[in-house]
Point group: C2
């Protein structure tokens, strides 16, 4: 079933890292002025601020806090480092609660010094160790499967199938999934795994950008929606057929866009959102 273009901005959310040169105060002002309705706050943007005041300011500007990005990074070869990660995730949960963010995105972590199987076990253990605190704090945790090119350093959870398997195994009400098209677009099982994710009631976030050809940097060459090959309308149709009608989050890491005037970039995002998402 085809999906209609988005004609208004009621579901548009931006990740603060998308406009990296802007502080949280600048981002709040400019996003609101452009008609953006939601903000996913990256933790670095909270440095030196009171999360509760940042959340108040975002809501006072007419937007909602969609999520806090990011928790995770659980695997490590020594137990002390794993405990440090768990402690840091507890702090992230506290920050999210203060900010009024109902969700934390988990970039689960990986270590090239140990097997993927071991990292995957440590991810499950790490999430289990913080899930009760999340639940008690009214914060949910969304496992974001990352592209396989990040399996060495950033996440050992690399397909939506794996994220679903992990959630099934954990079976915790505070743990679900974030779907990001950049990481998952290539997967021949994507439609089926989105449906599975929806049936389990755990598709809690949807992130968009695009895949440029050629991609020149493994981290910071994401494309604006419409300038790459990701079938954005197709994937949104699959996501919405699960009943998801939440925010659509624009998360772009791009040296080229960070180098341009950010107001101009924000204008391009709004236009691309309407034309291509």
């Amino acid at each position: 079933m085809p999906v209609s273009p988005l004609t208004d901005l009621s579901r548009l959310c931006l990740h603060t890292i998308t406009t990296k040169p802007w502080s949280i105060e600048e981002a709040t002002d400019r996003y609101a002025a452009a008609g953006v309705k939601g903000v996913t706050v990256w933790r670095q943007w909270l440095e030196g601020r009171e999360p509760v005041r940042v959340g108040q300011a975002i809501r006072a500007a007419g937007m909602e806090v969609v999520s806090l990005c990011r928790g995770g990074f659980f695997p490590a070869t020594d137990a002390a480092a794993r405990q440090t990660a768990i402690d840091d995730n507890r702090r992230a949960i506290d920050e999210a609660a203060a900010l009024g963010a109902p969700l934390i995105v988990l970039v689960c972590g990986a270590s090239p010094e140990q097997s993927l199987d071991e990292s995957r076990r440590q991810i499950a253990d790490g999430i289990a160790a913080v899930a009760d605190h999340a639940q008690a704090s009214g914060v949910r945790l969304a496992v974001e499967p990352l592209h396989p090119m990040y399996a060495d350093l950033r996440s050992a959870i690399n397909t939506l199938g794996q994220a679903n398997d992990l959630c099934d195994a954990l079976d915790l009400p505070s743990v679900g999934v974030a779907v990001d098209v950049y990481h998952l677009w290539w997967d021949p099982n994507l439609e089926a795994e989105i449906a599975r994710c929806g049936q389990a009631g755990r598709l809690w976030a949807y992130h968009v950008c695009d895949w440029r050809s050629p991609t020149e940097d493994l981290l910071n060459d994401r494309g604006l929606m419409g300038e790459g090959c990701i079938p954005l309308r197709q994937i949104r149709a699959w996501v919405e057929s699960t009943g998801f009608d939440g925010p659509i989050e624009v998360e772009i890491f791009s040296n080229r866009y960070w180098a341009m005037d950010q107001d101009e970039f924000l204008g391009k995002i709004v236009q691309a959102y309407k034309e291509h998402v």
Copy 2:
């Protein structure tokens, strides 16, 4: 079951692109002098040469021609370009036959201008269009699934599961699979899909290198075996448990290694092969 280190070079094969600065004549001399036993010839190394003479020279130096690399690149948005690709694959089959290469590695192709589903259909059609010619020429075709980071431009076949599905669907005696650790190491289904590949009698090639952390270039920053996080002994154990005892092919694209003295690099390859593969 653990796998033993390789104590001799009887299975060591090099891809000519691994030592890119060397011509086919230099590569033949130096490989043979180092004790290498097999050569996978990239088509560019045949330019201006008679394939039959190149094959004779490799065998005269005491080595075998393991495969010709590479065919494929079937998808394109227009039919004329797809026919051009099919014609080129027929020529590659002729070159392989003249060279005495029993196998062609297929990098199947992709196009960011059309859907992955469409590219996947065109790949199946393209292989089917040349398989009889391969069969009649005594040449086999090995589908090499490529890492998902190449799904836009190089191959829409991105997991071993997909390659197995494709081979099942084609059901052609001249079509099998090449397993390259660089593309597949992250896949949680790898062990099962290697076993499936073996059961179908289609695991025809095994390529090694390593994944560096951080990887700095999407194409040309492959690591020497042992300097990355790929579990080489584990994957070789899975491959050999299918009964595979063929050549182990070193295929490294690396700006940093191409810039160094190639004899020194070849020495490092031999050492790394014994210590880490």
